[in-house]
Structure formats: structure tokens, C-alpha cells
């Protein structure tokens, strides 16, 4: 419990510092936002008026506190490009991202863990060899390249799946698989090596001496032990998915948070960019926190400490 409390405090500090960092980073390019929004013919007075309107002339820390206050009341302002309410954008695009992210996250474990178990149990067989080759490939191929490759194969050539769009099940498959690929590859390796390491432990011999079946020993005892490091790194997988979502959502035209952020940055829509950066950072930081809680819960040795 102490460990979880300490991690929670640490997480709050990281959240605070990163929100300040994002705020300043966006401010440093604040002038661009103004010139991007106003026509080149706008007068100095018009520009100043616009800056005043956005509160850009106040000291940065004042702007920060004001912004945080508004965050807490869900008053996030509007997009500079299409006047959409930012909170509405969050719920709408957030839902899309959640669907895609959850699908990818699920695939990471639903595919990665069983393949890793298979490779460990049949180690040095052709099955192990193929799984490990797949894993190496999955880690080596950059996901934008994988995205283009799968679109070419499954959409353009075979015509089995749509190449882009939202939000049918068929449209979900390609972006989810691409988003999950590196996580699957890593999870396969980790599962395999954790299974093999635990299979060699003394406690396995004790369980065999107890007359337990191999199914129980491998499928329950060794697996549970092997899951400790995998669960502990589940949060990192979320972080990875969030990071890759920027690229994958853009390529597949999936209107999620990543796509919104990329578009906002390209159009210098700084209230949107600022808010969605904060959201994505919060997700990554909180998922690391969740990972740590998960690790503590998965590992009885840490629970009491």
C-alpha cells in the first residue's frame, strides 16, 4: 500500500510538471497562432485585440492558473478553426480513440500472450521459430510502413477490408492491428522468456512432486508467475499505443484524439493542441501509474511492502 501511495504522489507531480511544460511550450509558439488565425492584412491593433481576447498578454503563470481553473469546470473554450466546443470534441473523438485503443490493447494480450506460451512450451520447434520470426518482424517494421503495407494488401489488392474511415468493425481491424503490432511483438517475447524462466524454477519441481498435472503447472502456476512482469509493463503498452495513435489515426482517417491533435498542430489551433496534448500526456502518465498498481497487485511479494 505504501508503494502505491508513493507512486500516486509521484504521478501527480509528473502530471503537474508536464502540464506546465506543455503550457509553456505552446506559449512559446503563441504568436504564430495569432498570425495563423488573422489575415496578413490585419493591423497591429487588430492583432493586439486578438491577443488580449485570448489572454495572451497576461503573465504566463496567470494564464496557467486561469486555464487550470477552467479545466476543472469543463469550460475549455472553442476551436479556433471551426468554433467547435473543445469539450464536445473530447467526448466525440475520445470515444473513437477509446474504441481503437481498447481494440489494440486487447489484441496485444489476446495475441501476444498465447503465442508466447506456445513458443515457450514448444521451444526450438518450428512453431517457436515462426512465432519468434514474426515477433522480430513486428518490432522491426515501422508502423506507418506496416499501415501502408496492410492497406495495399488487404484493401487495394485483396479488397477484403476498407482502407480508411470510421467507425465500423471492418474499418477498425486494420488500424487496430497496426497499432497493436509492436506491443504484440514485445509481449510475445516477454511471455516466452518469462514462461521459460519460470519453468526452470525450483517451485515447478515441487509442484510436479505434488502430482499436479502439466496443464495446471504450466497453464496456472507458471503462467501466473510469468504474468507478473507482463502486467507490470501493460501500462507501457498503453503509452506506446497513445504515441502511435497520432500516426495510425492520421493514416487510416480514424477521427480520434491523435488525429485531432495532429490537425490542430498543423493548423496552429493552439487551444485544441494544448488541451489534447494535456489529455494524451495524462493518459500516458496515468497508465504508467495503473501499471505500477497492477504490478503490485499481481505480485504478492510487493503487496504488503
Amino acid at each position: 500500500m505504501k508503494r502505491i501511495a508513493a507512486r500516486s504522489i509521484y504521478t501527480l507531480i509528473v502530471l503537474l510538471l508536464s502540464s506546465i511544460a506543455v503550457f509553456y511550450a505552446i506559449r512559446l509558439s503563441g504568436g504564430d497562432a495569432v498570425s495563423a488565425r488573422l489575415p496578413a492584412s490585419a493591423s497591429f491593433e487588430e492583432r493586439e485585440e486578438f491577443r488580449e481576447l485570448l489572454g495572451l498578454n497576461d503573465p504566463v503563470h496567470e494564464q496557467y492558473f486561469r486555464y487550470m481553473g477552467r479545466l476543472l469546470t469543463f469550460d475549455l473554450g472553442k476551436s479556433l478553426t471551426n468554433n467547435a466546443d473543445i469539450f464536445d470534441m473530447l467526448t466525440h473523438h475520445g470515444k473513437n480513440s477509446l474504441i481503437l485503443g481498447a481494440a489494440a490493447f486487447g489484441l496485444v494480450f489476446a495475441i501476444g500472450v498465447p503465442l508466447g506460451i506456445l513458443a515457450a512450451v514448444r521451444r526450438n520447434s518450428w512453431a517457436d521459430g515462426s512465432v519468434m520470426t514474426f515477433s522480430v518482424a513486428g518490432m522491426a517494421v515501422p508502423n506507418f510502413w506496416l499501415a501502408l503495407l496492410t492497406v495495399w494488401l488487404f484493401a487495394s489488392t485483396l479488397g477484403w477490408l476498407p482502407s480508411a474511415g470510421c467507425c465500423s468493425f471492418k474499418q477498425l481491424i486494420l488500424p487496430a492491428v497496426v497499432l497493436a503490432m509492436e506491443g504484440i511483438a514485445l509481449t510475445v517475447r516477454m511471455t516466452r522468456s518469462a514462461m521459460l524462466e519460470n519453468l526452470g524454477q525450483d517451485f515447478v519441481r515441487t509442484l510436479r512432486a505434488g502430482g499436479l498435472s502439466e496443464t495446471s503447472i504450466i497453464g496456472k502456476h507458471v503462467l501466473r508467475n510469468a504474468m507478473v512482469p507482463i502486467i507490470s509493463l501493460a501500462g507501457l503498452r498503453i503509452g506506446q499505443i497513445v504515441g502511435y495513435a497520432l500516426v495510425v489515426e492520421t493514416i487510416f482517417g480514424w477521427p480520434g484524439l491523435g488525429q485531432v491533435l495532429v490537425n490542430a498542430v498543423l493548423r496552429r489551433d493552439y487551444p485544441v493542441a494544448q488541451f489534447f496534448s494535456l489529455v494524451l500526456i495524462a493518459i500516458v502518465v496515468l497508465s504508467n501509474w495503473a501499471a505500477d498498481v497492477g504490478y503490485t497487485v499481481a505480485n504478492p511479494r510487493l503487496r504488503k511492502a
Binding site: 524454477q201 525450483d202 517451485f203 519441481r205 515441487t206 509442484l207 510436479r208 512432486a209 505434488g210 502430482g211 499436479l212 498435472s213 495446471s216 502456476h221 501466473r224 508467475n225 507478473v228 499481481a298 505480485n299 504478492p300 511479494r301 504488503k304
Partner: protein, 334 residues
């Protein structure tokens, strides 16, 4: 040989377990080597047989061969029999061996720190062992477990039932392992250096507990140790192992007072000189030859003060004298 041994032991009861000409080999890139060579012994009802020998001489591999728990590959039984209740365990399919494990022959291991599953509670594992072999409800299994945990001297057994191994001391973990091994009331307990990893004060308590459980349950025990003081205090019979072979075997009193084999004699002579804290067997000059360079005749010949010409080429046969079996061409008076 079993008839000879039975007669010389003065025991008329059939042994509960007979190991017959067991060979267990390890496969290496340089070839296959017998780490257990032509080992035969009986475990009689109600008796404690101690298997002693220097580290690496094949004690654990012998025990794992009986339990069919060898790390195969690279280690496997190449010939011989392990006869238990009329069947040769080496021939049984894995499925049937599992029925024997824990229910009829149990084994406990050297290192209680690593030998218990860290992510399950004591009770979860004990319950699973019981319910693998018996039709018991969870409540019944819990009752059986708590009772045996109490019997082996674990304090607060009801609470400990729900403890994880890391919450217990080394001595407590060894008691948990003993309790799990005894909960199904097996006929034989194999204990592989059960106290080596424990504090000196705890060692005596654990041995005492093993001895009393063995007597109360009319169980037989194969106790593996490298501590001759343990042997003297607990054994009915002793088998001395050297480089994968049993070189001498017999009742503890006769073997200790009148050893025939030069290796046993060396061990016993060295006993008073070694430190009192850890009486390990490192008494005789020279080293055990590596597996690849094992002499074809007597494996002890390179270190033996009494070696004859013949010892280097021929394998000494098994002989029996006053109830003690030994393998030596040139036995010496002690």
C-alpha cells in the same frame, strides 16, 4: 541382491521400494555420461535410509530418478528399475506416475526459499495437491491442511494457510513443504538435504520433526545429506555414494564402527577434524574426476591409498560382509 540384503538386514519384511541397477545419464556435447551408475538399494518399511556423499556425487539425481522428476533432457534414466508396490516406476506412463507422487511417495527439497510457488498462498497449493488426488471439498482440504500444518509445528496454522511463501521464514517454509508432502500420508518421504539451507538452530528442529513424523506415520524415509552427524542421529541404514556409485551400504552402527571401503573410512576418519558448525564431507585428498575422465575400473582409484593394479581396469563387484554391502577389491580393517 535384494534377497541377500533382506537376509543380512535381519528383516523379513519386503522392501517398500527397490532401486535395481539404476543408470542415469546426462547428455552433453561430448557424449553421454552416467552420473548415477549401477545403483541398487532397498528402502524397508518404517526405516530411515540415509544417502550420503560429497556434493555432486549423484544423490539428488538418484532421488529425482525415483520420482521421475529428472530434467529430461539432458538427464535421463538409461537402464535399471525402481520397483514400488510391484511396478517398475521407470516404465510407468507420466499420467500414472503423477498418481504416485505425493499420494504414495513424496519429496521435499533443499531450498525452501525457491521451492514454493511465490504467487500462490500456502493453502491454495496444498488444497490443489489434495484435490488432485482425492475427492475432497475445499473446506475438507482446508481442514486437512491446517491440521497437518499444526502437526509439523507451524505456529498459527490457520493464518499461515492464507500466507504467501515470502511472508514466512526459511524454517517455516520448510515446514510448509513437509506438511504438503505429508498431507496425503505417503508411504515414503524422500528428503533431499532438507536442512542444508536453514539456520543451525532450525536444522535440529526440522530433523527432529521429520524423525517423529516418520515414526508416527510408520513411513519410510530416504534422507539425503552430506552431514555425517545427521546420519548418526537419525539413520537406520546408510548408503555412501561416490561419483555416482554406492560404494558401501548397511546398518548405521555396523557401517560406522566397521567400514570396509577406503572412501567410507576416509570420511569417518576426517570427521573429528572438520569444523563443528558445518560438517561437510571434504576429507580426502584429491578431487572427484570429471565425468569425461572417469576411470573405467573403480571410480575412487585415483584418490585411494590402497589401490591395486586391478582397481584401475576392473569394476569392483558388490560384496556383503556382516550385513554391509560394498564395492572394493581391497577392503581394509578400520
Amino acid at each position: 541382491m535384494s534377497s541377500v540384503q533382506a537376509a543380512t538386514n535381519g528383516s523379513t519384511k519386503a522392501p517398500v521400494l527397490s532401486v535395481r541397477n539404476l543408470h542415469t545419464a546426462v547428455a552433453t556435447p561430448e557424449g553421454s555420461f552416467d552420473v548415477v551408475r549401477d545403483v541398487s538399494f532397498d528402502i524397508n518399511p518404517n526405516e530411515v535410509l540415509c544417502l550420503v556423499g560429497e556434493s555432486g556425487c549423484g544423490k539428488t539425481i538418484t532421488a529425482l530418478s525415483i520420482m521421475r522428476l529428472l530434467p529430461t533432457p539432458p538427464v535421463r534414466i538409461t537402464s535399471g528399475e525402481v520397483v514400488f508396490d510391484g511396478t517398475d516406476l521407470t516404465e510407468l506412463p507420466e499420467r500414472r506416475v503423477r498418481d504416485v507422487r505425493s499420494e504414495r511417495i513424496s519429496m521435499i527439497f533443499q531450498d525452501p526459499l525457491t521451492s514454493l510457488d511465490p504467487v500462490f498462498t500456502v493453502g491454495q497449493v496444498m488444497t490443489e495437491v489434495i484435490r488432485t488426488h482425492r475427492d475432497a471439498t475445499k473446506a475438507e482440504a482446508r481442514e486437512m491442511s491446517v491440521e497437518i500444518l499444526r502437526a509439523v509445528g507451524l505456529p498459527a496454522p490457520t493464518e499461515r494457510f492464507d500466507s504467501y511463501p515470502h511472508e514466512l521464514s526459511g524454517g517455516m517454509r520448510q515446514r510448509v513443504m513437509i506438511a504438503t508432502a505429508l498431507v496425503l500420508d505417503p508411504e515414503i518421504l524422500i528428503a533431499d538435504e532438507p536442512t542444508t539451507a536453514l539456520d543451525v538452530t532450525v536444522q535440529a528442529q526440522i530433523l527432529e520433526r521429520l524423525r517423529s513424523e516418520q515414526q508416527d506415520r510408520h513411513m519410510s524415509m530416504l534422507l539425503i545429506t552430506h552431514d555425517l552427524a545427521v546420519v548418526a542421529s537419525i539413520a537406520d541404514r546408510v548408503a555412501v555414494m561416490y561419483a555416482g556409485e554406492i560404494v558401501e551400504e548397511g546398518p548405521v552402527d555396523e557401517l560406522f564402527s566397521n567400514p570396509r571401503h577406503p572412501y567410507t573410512q576416509g570420511l569417518l576418519r576426517a570427521l573429528p577434524h572438520v569444523s563443528r558448525k558445518r560438517r561437510e564431507l571434504v576429507p580426502i585428498p584429491g578431487l572427484v574426476p570429471p565425468m569425461q575422465m572417469m576411470p573405467p575400473g573403480c571410480r575412487f582409484a585415483p584418490r585411494c591409498p590402497h589401490a591395486l593394479e586391478q582397481c584401475w581396469s576392473d569394476h569392483p563387484p558388490h560384496e556383503v560382509e556382516a550385513g554391509v554391502g560394498f564395492r572394493c577389491f581391497n577392503p581394509q580393517p578400520f
